[in-house]
């Protein structure tokens, strides 16, 4: 795992990719920092710099993650990794930590900006809040990197990986406003759940090549959903909005803006990262069997 981490990290800096990406975030954040924090004397770094530049992730993360697995498959170097005495989990983690380390560089620059504010006389509360916000910002980035790594492992084309990650992160970014556009009643929730269930049942049936299993999954799911719809229709609505809430990757970060601290937000980002790393490892392992 360490070997993969080192090679991966170094590869970002043998080419232009690492410096360019780092400069991208540093310049983006630096502009806001200079204009708002320094020129206007606003001490809240979390809100005025980090929160306002978070949209940069939509471009930063796909470019950072697009090559991680797609390039290995294209160059057939995955044969070296997958036939070496390293577990698939080790490979996935090695790559993930390398990308997190690349992402840590602009975060270190941001930390420097916070220290500048401190040096200019910002209060301890503002500085502490800014560092907490930076921590959450970093974990948010790591969760997005895990999503990008997963999407990169699905294809051997870097462009498709980048576009896929961009679409996924953009959808997560826009999810809160999409949520408010459509208010759901229990009937709509039931229909949407049934569509998702049908897709899942079809996937399960195709994957296991068992018609009976697909039908079984669909029937069992329909029974549960139908019972819930009859007895507790409110549950469906709640469950539906809970699912949509979970897809709003950028919302928990807002808990940190404004000098507050939220453990659930940190847990959420760690969970997202762990989930997608697990899916990546499963996907890579599964390809051996195709």
């Amino acid at each position: 795992m360490l070997a993969i981490f080192k090679r991966e990290f170094r590869s970002y800096f043998t080419g232009m990719m690492g410096p360019l990406l780092t400069a991208f975030l540093a310049v983006g954040g630096g502009l806001y920092f200079y204009a708002l924090n320094l020129t206007n004397g606003l001490t809240d770094f979390g809100y005025y710099t980090l929160y306002r530049t978070i949209i940069l992730f939509i471009f930063y993360v796909p470019v950072l993650t697009m090559r991680s697995f797609a390039e290995e498959r294209k160059n057939r170097t995955d044969q070296l990794l997958l036939t070496s005495p390293v577990s698939v989990g080790g490979i996935v983690l090695g790559k993930f930590f390398a990308m997190c380390a690349v992402f840590a560089l602009p975060c270190v620059l941001y930390a420097g900006m916070i220290l500048v504010l401190w040096g200019l006389g910002a209060g301890a509360a503002a500085v502490g809040g800014a560092f907490a916000c930076l921590l959450c910002y970093y974990l948010l980035g790591c969760a997005a990197i895990a999503i990008g790594e997963y999407i990169s492992s699905l294809t051997e084309n870097q462009i498709i990986a980048a576009v896929g990650s961009l679409a996924a992160i953009l959808a997560a970014y826009l999810m809160p406003s999409l949520q408010t556009l459509y208010s759901t009643g229990s009937t709509q929730a039931l229909v949407i759940f049934l569509v998702v269930l049908a897709a899942a049942a079809a996937a399960a049936g195709l994957r296991s090549k068992s018609f009976a299993l697909g039908c079984g999954v669909f029937c069992a799911g329909t029974l549960v959903l139908g019972a819930a719809f009859m007895l507790r229709p409110a549950w469906l609505v709640t469950a539906f909005s809970a699912v949509l809430d979970a897809l709003c990757l950028f919302v928990p970060f807002e808990d940190f803006v404004g000098l507050s601290f939220s453990v659930p937000a940190l847990v959420y980002y760690l969970t997202v990262a762990a989930l997608f790393l697990f899916l990546t490892a499963q996907g890579v392992e599964k390809r051996r069997w195709n």
């Binding site: 070997a3 993969i4 057939r76 070296l80 997958l82 036939t83 070496s84 005495p85 577990s87 069997w289």
Partner: protein
């Protein structure tokens, strides 16, 4: 060393490897031979754990490839069909990375192993260069050097001489023979002369099935092919011919040339028999001094075509098990003859 039992790999409806069973013994050089699409690369990818079998088991040095994948893979050095190289690294960086990946502990040990592997594969001149800038032959060598790191017990090379020029091919074969002294080597090829040149055991694959397994020379014998001995002796043609015909085991003989008191005779012998000693002894006893005597190494090409061309042969499914290593050991002639035929090898596919 490697035990393969009822190995099957299915891609959708296509059966790439079909119920393969064989054992790779320690300390031999095995050649996996077959036409394009016979399942050679798939078999190698299965043995190295890159892909998993649909059915069957593979055990490497006692470790099941599915139960203890890391332990099994640690025993294997693998050069895939396309060398798995990172173009943005130098040869040195790449070999150090590969050594670390294979779990070689200690920076100094890794450095020493990488340098040794580079020296063995003739990479010393390009050690500090970017892999991106290397020619195909050098890239192939970097791939082989990578497979040597961590001193694996088994080295698996998928078409190691593809894309090399004739001099490099000879060099690569020398290296493979050298590796065969300390490692078990399994290489694949669709080039007959290559397998005949370096391998002590041959596995012939056809349509994903094992069509034959044995020493290259004994494969011909196992399939009922006659042996051929060319002899040139001092003496009258008819006398030499009669003497050779009189040797027990010689089925047929003909006079091929006769000049300056020398007679050349080609003798066809019973399958699998080595009659060189008997023929030379008989001629000496008859007063005809032997000037030259060569046994024609069993021609793998015939065996290969016979086994792979007809569906019927493949469907027999009974591998022609020939007497193994001892037959190979008896054939010093084959080992000497091989360098002469190395030039026909390169080309082929993959360019």
């Amino acid at each position: 060393m490697i035990e393969v039992s009822h190995l099957t790999k299915r891609y959708g409806a296509h059966l790439a490897v079909d119920d393969l069973t064989f054992t790779v013994e320690q300390g031999c050089i095995y050649g996996l031979l077959g036409p394009n699409g016979a399942g050679k690369s798939t078999t190698m990818n299965l043995l190295t754990g890159y892909i998993s079998p649909t059915a069957g088991t593979i055990t490497v040095d006692g470790h099941d490839i599915l139960e203890e994948p890391e332990a099994a893979r640690a025993c294997i050095g693998y050069l895939p069909e396309q060398p798995p190289l990172y173009p943005d690294m130098t040869v040195e960086e790449y070999l150090l990375f590969a050594a670390e990946l294979k779990g070689v502990r200690g920076r100094a040990v890794r450095r020493a192993q990488a340098q040794k592997a580079a020296a063995r594969t003739g990479l010393a001149d390009v050690y500090g260069r970017l892999i991106r800038n290397l020619s195909k032959g050098y890239r192939q060598r970097v791939g082989v050097a990578q497979a040597l790191l961590g001193s694996p017990k088994v080295i698996i090379l998928d078409e190691p001489t593809v894309g090399l020029d004739p001099a490099q091919v000879i060099e690569m074969r020398r290296l493979i023979r050298e590796l065969g002294r300390t490692h078990t080597v399994l290489l694949s090829s669709h080039i007959l002369s290559e397998v005949q040149a370096v391998c002590s055991q041959v596995l012939i694959l056809s349509h994903g099935k094992l069509a034959a397994l044995g020493a290259p020379e004994s494969l011909g014998a196992a399939l009922g092919r006659q042996g051929v001995v060319h002899v040139t002796a001092l003496g009258e043609g008819s006398r030499v011919l009669a003497t050779v015909r009189g040797v027990p085991g010689v089925e047929n003989a003909e006079l091929t040339s006769q000049q300056n008191g020398e007679a050349s005779v080609t003798a066809h012998t019973a399958a699998g028999a080595d009659l060189r000693a008997a023929i030379s002894g008989a001629l000496a006893a008859a007063g005809c001094a032997v000037l030259a005597l060569t046994a024609e190494a069993a021609d793998l090409e015939d065996v290969f075509l016979q086994l792979t061309e007809s569906e019927a042969a493949a469907d027999e499914a009974e591998p022609a098990q020939a007497a193994g290593a001892e037959a190979a050991a008896k054939q010093p002639g084959a080992a000497q003859a091989d360098d002469a035929q190395t030039d026909s090898a390169p080309g082929g596919k993959g360019e």
